[in-house]
């Protein structure tokens, strides 16, 4: 439990941190970033909450573990759908119904609708990383407070 200043600043700030993390995740195939980085940024918002409020009022562990498991299941399912050819085949690239626009060698302004399964995998991994790191932070913080007493 930190001081009032930290708490009142945390409250408006943390949605923006999560938003920035989400931006990194969904633009992972165009700009620096991706599932892991964006997920880690978003999980830092959870860390901020844990530090500021000293408790776990905002996120429940059950939700986060469900996010983690579902992200991973989506990830491996995407890989398994590609098994019509081989495991991890990028079946949406260059002509799929979503993210299927084709691009060719050379610089370009960055088209969002490209890269096939990669954005989907980024999102799945982002979900997993938010859930996983969030659970670790909350569990560790809770136990540490408990042990210190």
């Amino acid at each position: 439990m930190m001081s009032k200043i930290v708490r009142s600043m945390t409250r408006p700030l943390y949605p923006f941190i999560i938003l920035f993390g989400a931006y990194l995740v969904v633009h992972g195939h165009l700009t620096p970033g991706g599932g892991f980085q964006g997920g880690a940024v978003a999980a830092s918002a959870i860390a901020l909450l844990v530090v500021a409020y000293g408790g776990t009022r905002m996120f429940r562990k059950g939700t986060l573990t469900a996010m983690e498991s579902s992200g991973l299941i989506v990830f491996i399912s995407l890989a398994m759908v590609g098994m019509a050819t081989v495991f991890f085949y990028n079946f949406l690239a260059n002509g799929g119904p979503i993210f299927g626009e084709a691009i060719f060698y050379g610089p370009n302004p960055g088209y969002f609708n490209t890269a096939g399964v990669i954005p989907l995998m980024n999102m799945a991994v982002g979900l997993e990383v938010i859930g996983g790191l969030g659970v670790i932070i909350i569990a560790l913080g809770k136990k540490a407070f408990e042990v210190m007493e």
């Binding site: 573990t65 469900a66 498991s69 299941i73 491996i76 098994m83 050819t85 081989v86 495991f87």
Partner: protein, 511 residues
């Protein structure tokens, strides 16, 4: 979609998918994860057998499965599966199946069963990934999965501080070793610009044995000997084995043998052309002899039954290192390789599967004793043979086998090692026999103090539940088959494995 084409990846992807699903299964009911996980292990064992059938029908040519796309194989991650890989996968399939059935009753009284079975599946995934992969960095990733999952399992019994101590020590050790492995991978990458093992092997073979490759070899030998639990790095092994709950110790044996796999793969597949002197073979042999001797002598003074068996696991690892080490030492000498090197390697590799079976069985019986008596201290138990009849029989079979008493399978592999190593160096063979005698002595001690003597009225030591007996019976059945038909086993799975190791890997695909 042709199903058989995808079996190699399904062996890894299926338990992985199941591991992600298991926490959700735990929300349905308390017992759902155990039946789910066991069903998955059965299916995976079936797939491994199918895959083995495919591999053995192809001779020394490995199966290559490219991940991601079919076109640019050399730049993608590949699975390369030859007879030696599938041999290790078979061990893991049998042991993981037995352990998962055994654990039904054993973890029943603990909370967190869904996570227990998740980690059990992940240990299996780690080992399968390590033995089936054809990519150096991928080997590192699965090495880490296997170590981390094992550490989580070691810390399963939260009421004891010792389990966290053991988990921390093992974790610190395996993390450092994983990082050294990554450093070696970096050295290979900097020189050859690829991560494919076959391509690295071509690069290593094409040039002289330069300084960088020497350093990488040193690091790799250290890392994989540590994973296998060889002597100067064995310190955390007994801790982790003895604190692992129930059957996990048996799984641990199989998982640590993936380290042996990687060590032999390094020496034979990557460094085969440049090993012309006996030095590297002697490094492995000395690690092996030290493991054998220190392991068995330390086991003799233990009074904790699982710790004693853990030291024996170290000691038996020494036999494998000795056998295959002789094979490595004579690699540059084709005449000696044909005369006794191959036989030594066959003995060492046969010992791997024998060891996984009988040591797994012994750990399961030790956990059964702990389950009923509530202590691992040999001083506090006696007369268990009066009530735990089946466990006694299983223990006797395992103990006779590990001591190398003639009709059992332990004798066949040890005989092969003795006779071939004798032609290389008689002293080593004599040490191996001495260690075998001491092994028998310490198991006589365990048998005497745990099972013989007057009945202990203070504890209610009735027979263990059915699922635990089934788990032990699976391994016992394998041991009996191996004891009666050693020639069949050697001809069908051991000799192809040795041939595959000596043959090396072709490079997959073109540019």
């Amino acid at each position: 979609m042709n199903f058989t084409e995808h079996i190699p990846i399904l062996v890894i992807a299926l338990p992985l998918f199941a591991a992600f699903l298991t926490p959700l299964m735990g929300k349905i009911s308390r017992k759902a994860p155990r039946y789910f996980a066991t069903a998955v292990f059965v299916i995976v064992a079936f797939l491994v057998v199918l895959l083995a059938n495919m591999v053995y029908s192809r001779g020394t040519e490995p199966i290559i499965y490219t991940l991601g796309s079919q076109n640019d194989t050399i730049f993608r991650i590949v699975l390369e599966i030859d007879a030696f890989s599938i041999f290790m996968a078979l061990i893991m399939a049998i042991v993981s199946l037995a352990v998962s059935i055994y654990s039904w009753a054993f973890v029943d009284k603990y909370s967190g069963q869904d996570k227990f079975y998740t980690l059990l599946l992940l240990v299996a995934v780690g080992s399968y990934g390590m033995v089936l992969t054809g990519d150096m960095f991928n080997l590192f990733v699965f090495f880490e999965i296997s170590s981390i999952a094992l550490c989580g399992l070691v810390a399963f019994r939260t009421e004891r501080g010792e389990s966290f101590e053991a988990a921390f020590k093992y974790m610190a050790y395996s993390t450092i070793s994983g990082l050294l492995l990554l450093f070696a991978v970096g050295i290979f990458y900097s020189q050859y610009g690829v991560l494919n093992i076959a391509k690295i092997a071509e690069g290593v073979g094409s040039g002289p044995f330069n300084e960088l490759n020497k350093i990488a070899l040193g690091l790799l030998v250290t890392v994989f000997a540590l994973k296998a639990g060889s002597v100067p790095f064995h310190m955390t092994t007994p801790d982790a084995y003895s604190e692992a709950p129930g059957g996990v110790a048996a799984l641990y044996v199989a998982a640590s043998q993936a380290g042996l796999y990687a060590l032999f793969r390094t020496c034979f597949t990557i460094y085969r052309p440049v090993i012309t002197t006996e030095t590297i073979g002697w490094v492995v042999i000395i690690l092996g002899v030290l493991s054998m001797f220190v392991g068995v002598t330390m086991a003799l003074v233990q009074k904790d039954i699982k710790r004693l068996m853990a030291y024996h696991a170290i000691s038996q690892t020494g036999y494998m290192l000795l056998g295959v080490g002789v094979g490595i030492a004579v690699l540059g000498n084709p005449a000696a390789l044909d005369a006794y090197g191959k036989m030594a390697m066959e003995g060492g590799i046969f010992h791997i599967i024998n060891h996984a079976m009988y040591k797994g069985l012994l750990f399961l019986t030790a956990a059964a004793i702990f389950y009923r008596v509530g202590t691992r201290n040999l001083n506090e138990m006696r007369g268990l043979a009066h009530t735990m009849k089946f466990t006694t029989i299983f223990f006797m079979i395992g103990a006779l086998s590990i001591a190398g008493i003639p009709p059992m399978n332990g004798f066949s592999s040890k005989l092969m090692i003795y006779e071939s190593v004798y032609q290389f160096s008689p002293i080593l063979s004599a040490i191996a026999m001495l260690v075998s005698v001491l092994t028998l002595a310490s198991f006589v001690k365990v048998f005497y103090s745990a099972f013989m003597g007057p009945k202990n009225e203070k504890v209610d030591a009735k027979e263990v539940p059915m699922s635990m007996l089934v788990g032990m019976a699976i391994l016992t059945g394998v041991i009996i088959v191996f004891s009666l038909f050693p020639g069949l086993v050697v001809d069908t799975i051991i000799k192809p494995a040795v041939e595959a190791l000596l043959h090396g890997w072709p490079i997959a695909g073109g540019m």
